[in-house]
């Protein structure tokens, strides 16, 4: 009994030390990940245009950001592009995933390999090959960038929907059909709801990928079309303008809030059910 307590204390000491070390480790990782973003946020409030001198607090850059037509145009292009490409890729991706799932083992495996290739392929290869392809068929412009983005977005949708399809209970759909639902009704009322979480995460994944992309956009865009990433690239030569710090801060804060919302939302649901039960 006594010995047990002793060894418990010893363990407690070691695990305390381990705890401390792991906290330091996590602290360092978080610091390395977020310190640059913090610097960027601080710079967005800096009155001086320089990166190294602090000229006092200002909201000037936020004001200028919204009156800068170039940046606003690029932002709108980026968002429209991300939304459209994610939406279309989601529709195509979900249908493709259902189709691939219905295939026989061999074809299924072959198709999944084809799905993985665009993800593992270097962006620059995808970008240049798409550009070479487009040049023969259409003028480079918004349309070509959209098609390119849909192309690289589809695999992400398929990969996030596929596990949900495998988990899906097919008997439910069959039961719905037996009870008189037609195929369309059954698809929308029984199959889609079961896949919904996969579809949503696939959509957001595609949306983010499209917003993030520089290389493929750079090669497939036509003159006069610019997204945030290609615009910032053009700015490098003369130094990035503080308006971009402001915009990046807004994007970061928005994503942060969305993440918080997403993470705290589902936790409430079981609690509500619990209450209902009693």
């Amino acid at each position: 009994m006594v010995r047990k307590v002793k060894s418990g204390n010893l363990f407690h000491g070691i695990s305390g030390l381990k705890n401390l070390l792991s906290r330091c480790y996590i602290g360092l990782i978080v610091l390395f990940l977020y310190a640059p973003i913090l610097v960027l946020i601080v710079l967005s409030f800096n009155r001086s245009r320089s990166r190294v001198t602090w000229g006092g607090f200002t909201l000037e850059w936020y004001g200028q950001l919204f009156s800068n037509r170039q940046i606003m145009d690029a932002l709108v292009t980026t968002l429209v592009l991300a939304f459209l490409s994610a939406l279309i890729a989601t529709v195509i991706g979900v249908l493709a995933a259902l189709g691939i799932h219905a295939m026989r083992q061999r074809n299924y495996q072959i198709m999944m390999i084809f799905t993985n290739i665009p993800i593992l392929n270097a962006d620059i290869v995808t970008g240049i090959s798409l550009m070479l392809w487009f040049v023969h068929f259409m003028p480079l412009g918004f349309g070509s960038v959209l098609i390119a983005h849909i192309t690289f977005n589809i695999p992400y949708v398929i990969l996030s929907v596929m596990p949900k399809i495998r988990q899906m209970n097919v008997s439910l759909y069959e039961a719905a059909r037996d009870l008189g639902a037609n195929a369309v009704y059954g698809f929308f009322r029984v199959i889609l709801p079961q896949l919904l979480s996969g579809i949503v995460s696939g959509f957001f994944m595609a949306f983010t990928m499209s917003m993030d992309d520089f290389v493929i956009t750079y090669f497939t865009k036509g003159a006069g079309v610019s997204t945030l990433s290609t615009m910032i690239y053009g700015e490098i030569r003369k130094g990035i303008k503080p308006e971009m710090y402001a915009l990046s801060t807004i994007i970061f804060v928005t994503m942060f809030l969305i993440l918080l919302a997403v993470n705290y939302w589902p936790e409430k649901k079981p609690a509500v059910r619990e209450e209902q039960r009693f």
Binding site: R49, R69, L95, T230, Y233
Partner: protein, 354 residues
């Protein structure tokens, strides 16, 4: 049944995507045609483009690049057919040599007289007959220094080599710029193809190395602005900005001479609307437009109408309006002979590895 529905939906999606992409690339037909312009990033006031379209009805598709090499590659790939390019001296020279350009009818341009004689002379280094290039902006390389940290005059490359400011010097991390200033300090041409002269420059740079705090590119200016270094070798445009952040900074073009660069506009061979292209170039030379661009970019302008309209203080600023005697010994950098280029690469590698 299920198959049928899936195929119907697939068809719908395909039609939708084709329709959307069609709408996306449907061109707004401009009444007077359109121009595709390729320029460096942040190198023209966006208002200027808007104003040109308003005044002439010519639509402009505007594209930006970071380096001359990138422009060259994108232009040569032919994916987008550009009408007008703005690029830097040695790339202008290369495009002219490769017969990629069309002659500009300079005599017929209304505002071309605003470009000073001095700048046409500069442009002759790459375009000997002044028939392909309209000068846009230009600048020099020199020393940006903190007047509170230097004693005695800074007017020569010597301050970098005499050890007075050991540990306080920031050099450019770029091969051509580094050898340029060493060659100039030794009294040679910066376009020297001579092995002996290059080796002499190499020796000088190796001896200087312990005194150098860092070899940087874009951050060179910031180091002096922040007070981490007493002086840095920078381009004049950077120097002007540095001066805006920290008023103790000054810029000098060393008396031994330095590198002067020039950016100019050219009309490509693929341009089929030459009249509109010339109209645009003329527009850029107009005083109010050149002034807008100057106030957006703050590099030295070759437009004398703009220079005359500047404040006395700006006209005295060596980083904005270099005086004639300061640029007397300056040279435009040209392509080196292939052997000299290889040798310089070799020396630079040795120098950096050392």
């Amino acid at each position: 049944m299920k198959k049928k529905i899936v195929s119907v939906i697939t068809m719908g999606v395909l039609i939708l995507s084709v329709a959307l992409s069609g709408a996306g690339c449907a061109k707004k037909k401009a009444e007077n045609g359109s121009l595709t312009i390729f320029n460096y990033g942040e190198y023209m006031d966006p208002d200027v483009i808007r104003q040109f379209t308003e005044e002439t009805g010519i639509e402009i598709k505007y594209e930006e690049a970071l380096t001359p090499e990138e422009m060259y590659t994108k232009y040569k790939s032919g994916a987008i057919s550009y009408d007008l390019l703005c690029t830097t001296d040695y790339m202008l020279q290369r495009l002219i040599q490769e017969d990629e350009l069309q002659k500009i009818d300079i005599g017929n341009m209304e505002y071309i007289g605003n470009i000073g004689e001095k700048y046409w002379e500069l442009a002759k280094a790459v375009d000997p007959e002044n028939s392909y290039t309209v000068p846009y902006f230009w600048g020099t390389m020199g020393i940006l220094y903190d007047t509170t940290k230097t004693n005695g005059p800074v007017d020569s490359w010597e301050v970098l080599f005499n050890g007075d400011y050991a540990g306080e010097i920031v050099m450019q991390n770029s091969m051509r710029d580094t050898y340029m200033l060493a060659l100039k300090y030794l009294g040679y041409s910066l376009n020297s193809n001579d092995e002996g002269e290059m080796r002499e420059a190499q020796e000088l740079l190796i001896r200087q190395k312990p005194d150098v705090q860092a070899y940087l590119v874009d951050e060179a200016r910031d180091e002096v602005v922040a007070g981490n270094a007493a002086m840095a070798v920078v381009y004049s445009g950077e120097a002007y900005l540095g001066n805006q952040y920290n008023e103790n900074l000054a810029y000098v073009i060393p008396k031994e001479g330095s590198n002067v660069w020039l950016d100019g506009w050219v009309i490509t061979k693929s341009c089929d609307n030459i009249e509109a292209a010339q109209q645009f170039l003329d527009f850029l030379c107009r005083e109010d437009i050149a002034m807008k661009n100057f106030e957006y970019i703050y590099y030295s302008t070759p437009n004398e109408a703009v220079i005359n309209a500047l404040s006395e203080e700006d006209r005295q600023n060596e980083a904005l309006v270099p005086s004639d005697h300061a640029t007397d010994n300056c040279e435009v950098s040209m392509q080196l002979s292939p052997e000299a280029n290889d040798l310089m690469n070799e020396l630079w590698k040795e120098f950096k590895a050392d």
